[in-house]
Amino acid sequence: MAEQTEVKTTVSITIDGRTVEAQPGELLIAAAERAGTYIPRFCYHPRMEPVGMCRMCIVEVDTGRGPALQPSCMIPVADGMTVSTESEVTKKAQDGVLEFLLINHPLDCPVCDKGGECPLQDQTLAFGPGESRFVEEKRHYAKPIPLSDLVYMDRERCILCDRCTRFSTEVAGDPLITFVNRGNATEVNTFPDDPFASYFSGNTVQICPVGALLARPYRFKARPWDLDQVESTCTACAVGCRMAVQSSSDAVVRHLGIDVDPVNWGWLCDKGRFDFEALSDEGRLTTPFVRREDELVEASWSEALTRVAEGLADARDRHGAASLAVLGGARLANEDAYVWSKLARSVLGTDNVDAQLGDGLPAEAVLGLPRATIDAACAAGTVVLLGPDIKEELPVLYLRLRDAVVHKGLRLIELSPTETGLTRLTAASLRHRPGEVAQLMDALLAGGRGTRGDGVEVAEAAALLGDGPVVCVLGRASLAESPDSVVAAAGALLEARPGTTFLSALRRGNVHGALDMGLAPGVLPGRVSLDDGRAWFADAWGSVPEARGLDATGTLSAAAAGRISGLVLLGADPLADFPDRDLARRGVGGAGFVVAIDAFLTPSAQQADVVLPAAVFGERGGTTTNLEGRISRLNQKVTAPGSARVDWMIAVELASRMGADLGLESLEEIWDEIERIAPSHAGLTSDRLRTSEALDGLLPAATADVETEGAPPTMSQVDEPGTSAAAAQGTDHLPGNVQTEESSLGTGTGSGPGAEGSEGAASMAAAFGAEADVADYGEGTTPAEGGGEAEAIALTADAVAQGASVGEPSGGGTEGASEGAASPRTIRFARSAAPSGPPKIDSYSLRLVSGRKLYDAGTLVQHSPSLAGLAAAAPLRVNPADLHRLGLTSGARIRLSSSRTTLVMVAEADLGVPRGTVALTFNQVGQLAADLIDATMAVTDVRLETLAETSRVGSRSSRRESSGG
């Protein structure tokens, strides 16, 4: 946006005799750094408010009244300012500050984790006096004390820079550590017996400029100069935080967050930071297993793959391709997902594929709704939350939204069945009964008219909502209800507020990539529906199934009825992860031939006929897609254990044993084929993925992007551990003192935010959105329209800009597509009729809500020793009034019955749960909400009884499962 006016938008300052331009309001320390002058610092961090705590950044500043020493992190630049960072006075001041900071510092660098990558060490060398006049006894404290299960504190090393305490208060919103005492006795500590139990505690270790905060999983594991690292993307959830994966002796020992502007700002949650422990867990599968006489025994790959190929081919030949199914895929990289999608459709011949395990949203909604980015959500005036507890499921998205609320005035309007981690930050938080979010949304959009009871609250929220487009964070608030209601609510919102965009809140690692690659029934790679893409993909792949297949619930129901004779579990564990354990048990048990491809011998894998060991995050490369649709690279750092293989290789091998050649031999080939035939990914060439622009991730054109205001804060080298103060800005995001494998990284030339592609993309998306608005709502998905229109939609901004056209598909060996065939259009959301009214409930029952917590009984957490202990058993949460009505007190043991089963557990009073609702965390250790849930019902009703009563327990509700999907 070049301004033609003469108004000067920058200020001129002189740094060490050089005149440089700076942004008005910018802090001197940041302006100097952008101009290439590094001013030493400890407390300053570009993602937090400055405090001027450490005094290391004092420089001589002259604003016209003569030079004076000032902390450069506290003063904004002003026109005509003259700064000397190298004058005698400045040097003497810096010497003095460092000498004082070192008075009580123990200088135990040889045994300190930070030694070798320590800003205090580096800056003492670069700017310090060299020797100290202090000869007295230093301050002594007990050596590291645990602040939490994950973080240790060595108070002797602490220089009181306020970074960790500011982070916990300002960024994480968990002020559980604080300065205690005063003067020489000041220390950072917690309240007695109240640990630093924040989901973000690991970030304080990363930003600590000395070795005071230590991560238990990394402590004494390695020295920085022994580490080797690659830049990669976290796949613990769908936010897609960029991080450095660091290893020593071929074992991952640390993850460090990397500051990318559109996504994670350098932060990680503790699950993503510490889950690398699972990689080297003893439970990892290292060899294939084959069932022989009812027992899984070790087998060679050759034997196991032959068995799988024969088993699946046999099932297909005897019962038809529709009797095969592939469940899972959210663990895979995009390339793996694509190859599996291709294998399932063209070789197995089935459309029964689903990367979601009944815990997500229909693929048509995720792929078809106009999409928002995290930046767009944070820059929007209003965000509507329709989904899970973001703090529990997508922690770093919570940090971003929290920042926008606290610092940018973002207004959150939450519609949820219980209070969530975001409720305290909302402008309005409305409760709905489970399964009735669509009704609440209707009331909200009607301005609160016609609502019973809480009409005033709804009207107030409606006033806050306004009339313009908003951004909606959309996901599943509860696994104990069907997604129909929330999808209907989203449809109503889009219809009432055209221009509204949606940010998916599905949590599984690469579920969005798996959906993009067609791992969902009725969906083909590139966000294309089976109907629209049939011809195009039949050309590319040779064949595509005729009929739409079954989703996970449908597949498991069919399997339970004996209609699935070959089931592939692609990193899926329905027995632990599917919302309805009874159905999962009958489904996995009822499937004829079961193959599990997994990293661990999960409960489902234990029932399989063949188990194949898979390489997982850190052990394979590729790309991953986050909840915005942003594609970023995964890089391999360590070797997979034993003979574990990458999922796409397994698929290619399997295809060849079934007599088909997928024609794919490398990640690059796979990506090239994706780029060629997946319409949404056209233009995202593998060359572009290797550029520095791709370090922040690339957005497919269909995702709208907004420009955020102001220059993003720059992350200086020293803010990452292991960077020497003297080092110039590197060519990538990675911290400096650690080895980097050049080959796996590509050659970046900078680390600017991924702005390219988004401008053009935004205009395309705008046209797309507007077109979709008028053409499509309320009419259902129309079959492929005129070629011109379809082509225009499918073309990416880049393709348009470069005058390139989307070519004909030519993968899979089938050449010669019909002349001029346009690639199919991408899916557009079609609003379906809202579910007919809320399900009835009898007056004795309560309606169940089951959401997730960050630490649960899942594979990743349970195989990471440091995290496993954090997954505490969760009680049933009940409104105190309901407890009282039932004659119970908080903490009482109760019996909880649903149509499925009866469980005994503890009930606790929780005001965050409305009357008539009970909340039970999904998949917690020793407590199995999935046992209660019937996935074929719209909602789950439960009854609650004291343990003393026994008479009514046996009487099950007469509801039976209604359909097989």
Binding site: D174, P175, L176, I177, T178, F179, V180, N181, R182, T190, F191, P192, D193, D194
Partner: protein, 195 residues
């Protein structure tokens, strides 16, 4: 370890109501807690945190900054003996030794009967009256050894109960502020952004 008593919780809520931001009531509430128990217990800090919507750590951070909030039990009478320059020149250190001998505990400790805690303190701003000490922050000027002995006898006998209330007492006549005179409140009542 005591949380605030029901009466003090009522008082605490009244105090919170006087401030536009509840967090401003933190130090007044710490006084209430210290008055209740003679020192600030961990439970009281946690309770104050609940009342103010703060984490216990935030309460601790403020509480521990101030020397006069005691986070360990202290005696009914806190005896602060000055040994800074003026008092030192006029026998402050000898006075402290005498106090320690007379009460049978070293500076920093509390007598077994829980009546006296001795502290060795820096200047208490009464240099013209050196050597001096404070009992529960009430001054005693130009104290001789015999004078201190007499003071102890008076305190033990309860004859100074009127002048020197137990440690932690902030006031014996609680001021009540009518609502219209609360901070930031005009005659027309609470401004809308607070109410």
């Amino acid at each position: 370890m005591a949380r605030l008593s029901p009466e003090n919780e009522v008082l605490a809520r009244q105090i919170i109501g006087r401030y536009p931001r509840s967090r401003s009531a933190l130090i007044p509430l710490l006084h209430v807690a210290q008055e209740q128990d003679g020192w600030v217990t961990d439970d009281a800090m946690a309770h104050i945190g609940e009342l103010l919507g703060l984490t216990p750590a935030e309460v601790l951070g403020t509480c521990s900054f101030y020397e006069m909030f005691k986070r360990e039990p202290v005696g009914t009478y806190l005896v602060n003996v000055c040994t800074n320059i003026s008092c030192q020149l006029l026998g402050g250190e000898e006075l402290l030794e005498h106090v320690e001998e007379r009460l049978g505990v070293k500076a920093g400790a509390t007598t077994p009967d829980g009546l006296f805690t001795v502290e060795d303190v820096e200047c208490i701003a009464a240099c013209t009256e050196a050597p001096c000490l404070q009992v529960n922050y009430r001054y005693f000027h130009r104290i001789t050894h015999a004078g201190f002995d007499a003071l102890v006898d008076e305190l033990r006998a309860g004859r100074l109960a009127e002048e020197i209330p137990p440690h932690g007492t902030t006031t014996r006549i609680r001021q009540t502020v009518p609502a219209p005179r609360w901070a930031g409140v005009g005659a027309e009542g609470l401004p809308p952004e607070i109410g």
